[in-house]
C-alpha cells in the first residue's frame, strides 16, 4: 500500500465505496416489477418522436418472412405514425421463444398463435380485443365462425389470419405412373389402406402414405362422434377404447407395407418443406392443412391435388377452420395501434394480395374473391377444395376443435407413442394405454394451472 499517496488512498476508499454500492444496487435492479423491465429492455415498444413502435412475431420459412415484411412495410406507409419491427423463428423454436419472452415481460405486441391459443388465453397473457371491435378493428367482413373461434371465455383473444381445411394431398403424377385411378372424395379408410399398399407395391421406392396416426387422431374421433378436447365440460373428449382402433388401423396398414418407414418419417418429416418426401416423389399421399399445398407444389414438378379425408361413420370430420391468427400481448402499451395492424392484416386488399394464402385463405369474403381472380393453379385447387369442404359441412357439421390444454407436451407424447409402435418397442395396446394415461396427466396438470 505504500505505493499510494495519502490522497491516492482516499481516492481508493471512495472508489471502493462506490463500487460496493454499485454491487449492491446492480442486483436489486433486476428484480423490479414488469414496468421496470419494460423500461430497461430497450427491446419493447416505445413511442419516439410521435411515432409508435410495435413488435410483431411469426413463425415460418424465409418466403413467408419476405411477404410478411412486405405487408408490414405497406402498413407503415399507410400509417406513417406507426413503426413495426418484425421478428420470426422457424416453427420448431417459435413457441419456446415466445414463452421465454412472455415470462420475462418482453413479448412482442402482436404475435401469431395456432390451435394452442387456449394454452395462452387461459394464462391471461392475451389482450381482450373486444373494446376495439367496430373502432380500430372491423370484423363485419369476417366469417362469423372464425370470429367465434378466436373468442374464448367471452373475450376476443385471437383474430384468424387465414383459414384452411385439412385434406389428403395426392401426388397425381405418381398415380398416373402406376396406372391407378386417382382417389376421389367419398372414399373410406379401407380404401385408403388398400390404395396405399397398391401404390407402394407398384412403384419402386415410393410409399403409399406417411403415418399420420397422431395428426389425424382428432379427425378420426370426430368421424366417430367423439372429440379430442371437450371444451364446454373441460374434459378429455375420448376414452382409451375410442382411439385403440385407429392405432390398430395404422399398425396394420404399416405391417402390410403401405406406409413410410418410421426411420424415413424421422429423417424426412412430412411437414418440413425442405425434406418432405412429398416433393421428392417419395410418397403418394398424406394429410396436410390446405394452406400448405402451394408451398409443396412450388417445390416439385409432380402434380399435387387435394382430396377429402376418407370417411368414417359420421362423415369426414373436417371443418373449415382457423389455421392461425393474430393475438395481442396483454401488456402492450399501444393496444389501439395493435388493433389497427390486425385490422389491416385481415381487411386490407393490398395486404391480402401480398400475403396470398400462405397462412390459409383470407378470412373475409371480399379478399377471397380478390385472390381467386388471379390465383395460381395450386391456389385454385385449394379454393376448390375448401369450398367442397364448406359445402359438405352444410350437410354434416362438426364442431370446431381446440388443442387440449398442455398442447406441446401432448403432441410430444403422441409422436413418441406412434414411434414406440413403429420401432416395435411396445404393443399397440400397451402403447395406447400408456398414451391415454399420459394424456390424462398432462390434461389434469394444465387444467389446474390454468385456474
Amino acid at each position: 500500500m505504500s505505493m499510494f499517496s495519502k490522497k491516492g488512498k482516499r481516492w481508493m476508499t471512495g472508489l471502493s465505496a462506490l463500487t460496493v454500492t454499485l454491487l449492491l444496487s446492480a442486483c436489486s435492479g433486476g428484480s423490479g416489477g414488469p414496468a421496470a423491465q419494460q423500461a430497461g429492455g430497450g427491446e419493447t415498444s416505445e413511442t419516439t418522436g410521435g411515432q409508435t413502435e410495435l413488435r410483431m412475431m411469426w413463425w415460418g420459412d424465409q418466403k413467408r418472412a419476405d411477404t410478411t415484411n412486405q405487408a408490414i412495410k405497406l402498413f407503415e406507409q399507410k400509417n406513417p405514425d406507426i413503426k413495426v419491427m418484425g421478428e420470426f423463428a422457424p416453427s420448431t423454436g417459435y413457441f419456446d421463444k415466445l414463452n421465454t419472452q412472455l415470462a420475462s415481460g418482453t413479448a412482442p405486441d402482436v404475435f401469431f398463435l395456432g390451435g394452442n391459443v387456449t394454452d395462452y388465453a387461459s394464462k391471461g397473457v392475451l389482450l381482450d380485443l373486444t373494446p376495439y371491435v367496430g373502432n380500430e378493428l372491423k370484423l363485419e367482413q369476417m366469417d362469423q365462425s372464425l370470429v367465434e373461434y378466436g373468442t374464448l371465455g367471452g373475450k376476443l383473444v385471437n383474430v384468424s389470419a387465414g383459414a384452411n381445411a385439412r385434406g389428403i394431398v395426392v401426388n397425381k403424377t405418381l398415380f398416373e405412373k402406376a396406372g391407378m385411378p386417382i382417389p376421389e372424395d367419398g372414399w373410406n379408410w379401407d380404401d385408403y389402406a388398400r390404395i396405399s399398399k397398391e401404390l407402394s407395391d407398384k412403384l419402386d421406392g415410393v410409399a403409399g402414405t406417411y403415418n399420420f396416426t397422431f395428426d389425424g387422431m382428432d379427425i378420426f374421433l370426430k368421424q366417430n362422434g367423439k372429440q379430442l378436447y371437450d371444451m364446454e365440460n373441460e374434459a378429455l373428449g375420448f376414452e382409451e377404447a375410442d382411439i385403440l382402433p385407429w392405432y390398430q388401423y395404422w399398425d396394420e396398414t404399416t405391417q402390410n407395407g403401405g406406409v413410410v418407414s418410421p426411420e424415413m418419417q424421422v429423417s424426412n418429416p412430412p411437414n418440413d418443406t425442405a425434406k418432405t418426401l412429398l416433393i421428392t416423389s417419395g410418397v403418394g399421399m398424406t394429410l396436410i392443412p390446405s394452406n400448405q399445398l402451394a408451398a409443396f407444389q412450388n417445390l416439385t414438378e409432380d402434380e399435387l391435388i387435394l382430396v377429402q379425408v376418407p370417411r368414417g361413420p359420421k362423415g369426414t370430420g373436417v371443418v373449415f377452420e382457423s389455421s392461425q391468427g393474430l393475438s395481442a400481448y396483454a401488456k402492450t402499451e399501444h393496444p389501439e395501434a395493435v388493433a389497427k395492424l390486425i385490422d389491416f392484416w385481415i381487411n386490407d386488399a393490398d395486404a391480402a394480395k401480398i400475403l396470398g394464402s400462405d397462412r390459409g385463405v383470407p378470412v373475409t369474403a371480399a379478399n377471397r374473391e380478390l385472390l381467386q381472380k388471379d390465383a395460381s393453379p395450386a391456389d385454385l385447387i385449394v379454393y376448390d377444395y375448401t369450398s367442397r369442404v364448406s359445402e359438405a359441412a352444410e350437410k354434416e357439421n362438426f364442431v370446431v376443435s381446440y388443442n387440449i390444454p398442455g398442447g406441446a407436451e401432448f403432441t410430444k407424447l403422441g409422436e413418441t407413442t406412434v414411434q414406440e409402435i413403429g420401432f416395435g418397442r411396445k404393443s399397440v395396446e400397451q402403447a395406447v394405454s400408456d398414451f391415454y394415461k399420459g394424456a390424462q396427466q398432462i390434461f389434469a396438470k394444465n387444467k389446474t394451472s390454468a385456474q
Binding site: 481508493m12 460496493v20 454499485l22 442486483c27 420448431t92 391471461g124
Partner: protein, 300 residues
C-alpha cells in the same frame, strides 16, 4: 492502526473484485437460489408461482419415466464420450509431442473442432454426414455395406452424438500437450539407460507425470458432458426424438421449462442434476489421491 490498514487493503481488493462479484451474485448465486425456490413451486412461467413444497421432487422420483430414461441416457453418453474424448486427446497430444515441424499448425487444426464444436453449424454438418444418404453411408457403400440412417434410428443416434463429442477433443489435447512439455527429459534419459522401452516409459513416467493434467481434464469433461445440450437438440428433432433417443437430461429440463410450461418442475430437475454432477466430481476428487501424482510428492 495496523488493522485499519488491513481493512483498507481488503476494501481495495473487494473493489477490484467487484465486477466478478456482481456477476457472481447477480448472474449465478441469485438465479440459483431463485431456481431453488421455484423448484418448490408450481410455476407455469406466466402466472405467479404457487408453493407446493417437495411435490415436484416426489413426482420426479416416483412417477416420471422420462426422468429415469433421460438420466440413464445421459449416463450412457458421459461414460462413452468422456473416456473416448480423453483417449483421443492424449493420443494426438503424444503424436504431436515428437518435436515435429509446424507443430503450431497441427495444434490449431486439431483444436478447431473444439472451437466450432459447440456451435449449431457443426451439429448440422454432422446431421448431413450421418444421414441415411449422407457422406458416411456413401463411403460405406464403396465396401458394399448398406448403412442405416444413423440419425433417424433410436438405436444409433446416441453414437452419432458421442462421435461428435469425441471429435471435439481439441481443448483437452492442448492441455495434455502443455502437460507433456513439463515432463523433465532427464527422466526419459535415465529410464532409457535402465533399459525401459517406449511402453514402459509411457506407463511409468508419462502417465504418472501427466496425472494432474488428466485429473483436470477428467473433471472438466465429466461436468461438460453431463450438461450436453446443443448436439442433442440439433441432431435430434429438438424434442428428444426419435423415441426419446436424444432426450438428454438438459434437453428434458429445457422442454419441461420452456415448452411445457412447467418451470417449477424444470428447476427441480436442474437441482437434481447439480447434486449428481457434484457427486461425480467429488468421487473423482476422492479417488484422485490414489492415482494423481504431483511432482513435488516424494517417494510415491
Amino acid at each position: 492502526m495496523k488493522s485499519a490498514r488491513r481493512r483498507q487493503s481488503n476494501w481495495t481488493a473487494y473493489a477490484f473484485l467487484t465486477p466478478w462479484l456482481i456477476g457472481f451474485f447477480c448472474l449465478t448465486l441469485g438465479p440459483m437460489l431463485g431456481s431453488l425456490y421455484l423448484s418448490l413451486t408450481q410455476y407455469n412461467l406466466l402466472s405467479p408461482p404457487q408453493w407446493i413444497g417437495t411435490e415436484n421432487y416426489r413426482q420426479i422420483f416416483t412417477q416420471d419415466g422420462t426422468f429415469t430414461a433421460s438420466l440413464l441416457l445421459t449416463f450412457k453418453y458421459v461414460f462413452l464420450s468422456v473416456p473416448l474424448r480423453l483417449m483421443f486427446a492424449l493420443a494426438i497430444a503424444l503424436a504431436l509431442n515428437k518435436g515435429i515441424r509446424a507443430l503450431g499448425i497441427y495444434r490449431t487444426v486439431y483444436y478447431i473442432p473444439s472451437l466450432l464444436g459447440g456451435s449449431v453449424a457443426i451439429a448440422i454438418v454432422w446431421r448431413q454426414i450421418f444421414d441415411g444418404s449422407g457422406a458416411l453411408n456413401q463411403f460405406l457403400a464403396w465396401f458394399g455395406i448398406n448403412g442405416p440412417s444413423w440419425i433417424s434410428h433410436p438405436d444409433y443416434i446416441v453414437y452419432t452424438i458421442v462421435s461428435l463429442s469425441t471429435w471435439q477433443f481439441g481443448s483437452a489435447m492442448v492441455i495434455f500437450l502443455a502437460g507433456l512439455k513439463q515432463v523433465p527429459a532427464d527422466l526419459y534419459e535415465a529410464s532409457q539407460i535402465d533399459g525401459a522401452g517406449k511402453v514402459k516409459q509411457f506407463f511409468r513416467i508419462t502417465l504418472p507425470m501427466l496425472s494432474p493434467v488428466l485429473f483436470f481434464n477428467l473433471v472438466m469433461s465429466i461436468i461438460n458432458s453431463f450438461q450436453a445440450f446443443t448436439p442433442a437438440y440439433v441432431i435430434g428433432d429438438g424434442r428428444g426424438g426419435p423415441l426419446d433417443a436424444t432426450m438428454f437430461y438438459t434437453l428434458y429440463l429445457y422442454l419441461k421449462g420452456f415448452s411445457f410450461f412447467d418451470m417449477g418442475y424444470a428447476s427441480a430437475l436442474a437441482w437434481i442434476m447439480l447434486v449428481i454432477i457434484g457427486a461425480f466430481t467429488a468421487l473423482v476428487f476422492l479417488t484422485s489421491r490414489f492415482w494423481v501424482f504431483y511432482g513435488d510428492q516424494e517417494g510415491r
